[in-house]
Symmetry: C2
Subunit: 491 residues, 2 copies
């Protein structure tokens, strides 16, 4: 059989060892920060019942859910049976008492016959039914988890989750059909301390990853509502925010034109203008907002909430992040009810590398009302691209091999094995290249795997016990005894 | 809407924070040992092309593959178009040159019409097609990976992989439809050093997990072939091994009866008996085997291979494992060609917790011939159960919160925040319970999360700056300043 080179499905990826080391660096860093702030990891199954997922992502989202066919051979044995054998089998499973009347027996037979027919039908339909689907995000499974396990959970429940999700999106550059999401949420606490801690988490995690200039944008849904309220257009909040959101791209004149096109009056625009043109420090922006929104109770509540978050953050010191109140930020308008977050790097042109917000009714869709929550997400794939472009990945990590021992024959192996095990006992990742290969091949192997040190065991070394360790980067060689290897490697 | 409590699909599981800490302990330990021996992590997509998977697991296995429906709304826009509009659209995509003849135009129209009809057909069939499936194990995707990336890989390629797999098995106790596999394989090296290192990896990983008495059984497929050869029944090797495999359960007489039932003669049995009754140390068993298999070249080759592995292992010192030559071990007889491994704990009644072996043609199924490999697998779910039963999980890990600060009001929060951030800067996992809850609720939270230390911030503490830190296990309280907390926690 001539064979075609195998491939992976469209929109999915293999991750090579080099890529995995980098991806692990990102995920391990973010996880360690989540843990530092008291967030605990959970995992949910890759597949959820279809009923759990459908209707949660809008019409467009529902179409992108990957459905799984019911599988298995639960019915295959039925196919071997005749009609009468199948009825007999059903009867056997539900035997009549020995004192059954004739009527009982007739009824029993008829019922078993009906059941047998239903089984046969089920058997023919089964391979074409789908009752399960791959999860589309981590949020709905989390809501399902909270409702299902509500009696075991002590609230506030701070959880994080790092797992792949699947979407039947048209694959394109940077958009995959399988990708990891990296979420932290707390449910059951309305304290704005949580919002502040998410700012700190973004700051700490992205600083640890080596990002040197990034902005955490923060807004509040109630402020957006307030803006719509002061012009008496609460119903047009979407139109309003879509237009304002374009300020960066099309400027004030463009936004005004767009607002007019969307049916806002000159009078409306006059009232909104000071809000759109908000400038200065966060506190100054807040002051301007307060006066502009003075007539909206909701708007002022939004200002209060934002100020409380800023106050909490001020009690600590941000390591790297710029925290910026940005009232044009309007993501997740359909479900966020309080704070809205978005994170952008200023070092590379790239969409947002994180986002989140507060929602007041996450678990309502599964019948548990009134549980408030707030959460954030890290965009791992984009962070990967940013770090790759800025060369931020550490060269060597504890995940790589640190030393390769090369040898030529069985005697070399015999000499090397105890040295090798001694190093491993000291938690050094080390390898022995199996005897029989040319030295060039062995050194190529070391270079390819980015192994920083090599030792070559020839007959001289075996006789004298004196080894030569080579730094593969600098080319520097050093004579040493087996006991000194650890010292040299750890330098 | 009255709502039903949501659930997960049959045979799948949620993992709670407590379970995740334990699972991570297992996976992190095994991964660190894999890395120590130079194995590098890869990941492959959850879904593979159906053609990659089918035909690889036998008829029974194929039935258990979960198929995924092709999804997405790539065709939905077509449904809006009339026949003529669709044809026009197809024509627009492939415009004719301006100097096209009348004949060209007719042909172009007819071709576009055909194409439009095909599109319409595809659109109606698409939602019912499955071209993808969830991976069934990590071995076939690994083989696919090696073939697909053969030009980027430097051999020998030592890879490990820890990812979930899916099987549409009938769910039952201890058998799930989604579970993690944990595999390490090396391909492109026939050195028996690899087999020896897998013995060392099992020994080190399971010792690190706290197992105190376990056996690594080793056999060689060539020895099994040899036994069949010396009685001239190479074709009956399966019958032979199935019978011998039962020695533990049914004793020698039982095995003899079973062999007779399966058509072996008294003469055959006389020849096999010394092999079945093999006793003593591994080296003694090997000597007996050599004389019993003296007439089989293959059998003797198996003995040589086994001896080489034992010699390698003897150069090191096993920490805990008993390494036992067991010629009744016959797993994977269809694909293993050399060494066969199986690991069992002797502390708990449980099936094997690991296994593996050498195969000579893993990648042949994808057209890359002659690449030998050897690999092992850890049974993570069973190891979890063993450790749970033996109480081997560490009580606290770096994954848990170490300190909860309790407070009563905004002033308490304000006082606590800088202390909290100072501890976090020193890599202490710490939390502040948001103000407003009763103390009992806060301490319940600490107990439920197994947080070992708490500090309560009242007005006295704020005034004096003197804190009281409580050890939640012992109940012991200690007065301290903010600077002394770290010291007390780390004790």
């Amino acid at each position: 059989m001539a064979s075609i080179k195998p491939s992976v499905p469209k929109g999915t990826r293999d991750f090579s060892p080099t890529e995995m080391v980098k991806r692990n660096f990102i995920f391990d860093t973010i996880k360690s920060v989540f843990r530092k702030y008291g967030y605990q990891q959970i995992e949910t199954p890759s597949m959820e019942n279809l009923s759990t997922l459908t209707g949660k992502y809008g019409e467009e989202g529902d179409k992108l859910i990957f459905k799984i066919l019911d599988s298995g051979d639960f019915f295959s044995e039925l196919d071997q049976l005749t009609e009468l054998e199948l009825i007999q089998k059903v009867q056997d499973k539900n035997p009549l008492p020995t004192n059954a009347t004739f009527g009982d027996k007739v009824l029993h037979y008829l019922r078993s016959k009906d059941q047998a027919q239903q089984l046969r039908l089920a058997s023919s339909i089964a391979p074409h039914i789908s009752e399960k689907a791959l999860r589309y995000d981590l949020t709905v499974p989390f809501a399902r988890y909270v409702v299902q396990h509500q009696n075991e959970i002590i609230f506030p429940f701070k959880r994080f989750q790092v797992q792949p999700v699947w979407r039947a999106d048209r694959p394109q550059k940077g958009r995959y059909r399988e990708f990891y999401q990296c979420d932290a949420d707390v449910v059951g606490s309305d304290s704005l301390l949580n919002e502040a801690e998410f700012v700190l988490i973004y700051d700490e995690a992205l600083s640890k990853l080596g990002l040197k200039d990034f902005t955490i944008k923060i807004n509040n849904r109630k402020i957006l509502s307030g803006i719509a309220e002061i012009i008496d257009k609460a119903d047009n909040i979407i139109d309003l925010t879509v237009a304002i959101d374009k300020l960066d791209k099309i400027g004030l004149d463009g936004v005004i034109k767009e607002l007019m096109d969307r049916g806002f009056t000159a009078d409306d625009i006059e009232k909104i203008k000071p809000v759109i043109l908000l400038e200065g420090l966060n506190r100054e922006k807040l002051e301007s907002l307060r006066s502009a929104l003075a007539s909206s109770v909701t708007g002022l509540k939004g200002c209060d909430e934002l100020e409380t978050v800023l106050n909490y953050v001020d009690l600590c010191k941000l390591q790297t992040a710029n925290l910026e109140l940005d009232i044009t930020l309007a993501r997740g308008l359909n479900y966020y009810t309080g704070a809205i977050f978005e994170v952008k790097t200023n070092e590379v042109a790239m969409g947002s590398i994180g986002g989140g917000g507060r929602y007041d009714d996450l678990t309502g869709m599964f019948g548990l009302k009134g549980l408030t929550g707030v959460g954030i997400s890290f965009g791992a794939d984009r962070i990967y691209d940013v770090m790759d472009e800025l060369n931020l990945f550490p060269e060597a990590t504890s995940q790589s091999t640190q030393l390769l021992i090369c040898c030529f024959d069985k005697d070399g192996e015999k000499f090397a094995m105890p040295i090798l095990q001694q190093l491993r006992k000291k938690d050094i990742n080390a390898e022995l290249y199996p005897a029989g290969a040319k030295l060039k091949k062995q050194l190529d192997y070391a270079n390819n795997k980015n192994i920083p040190f090599t030792i070559i065991i020839g007959s001289d070394e075996i006789e004298s016990g004196l080894l030569t360790i080579k730094n593969m980067k600098t080319g520097l060689q050093e004579k040493c005894s087996a006991d000194q290897i650890l010292e040299i490697i750890s330098k």
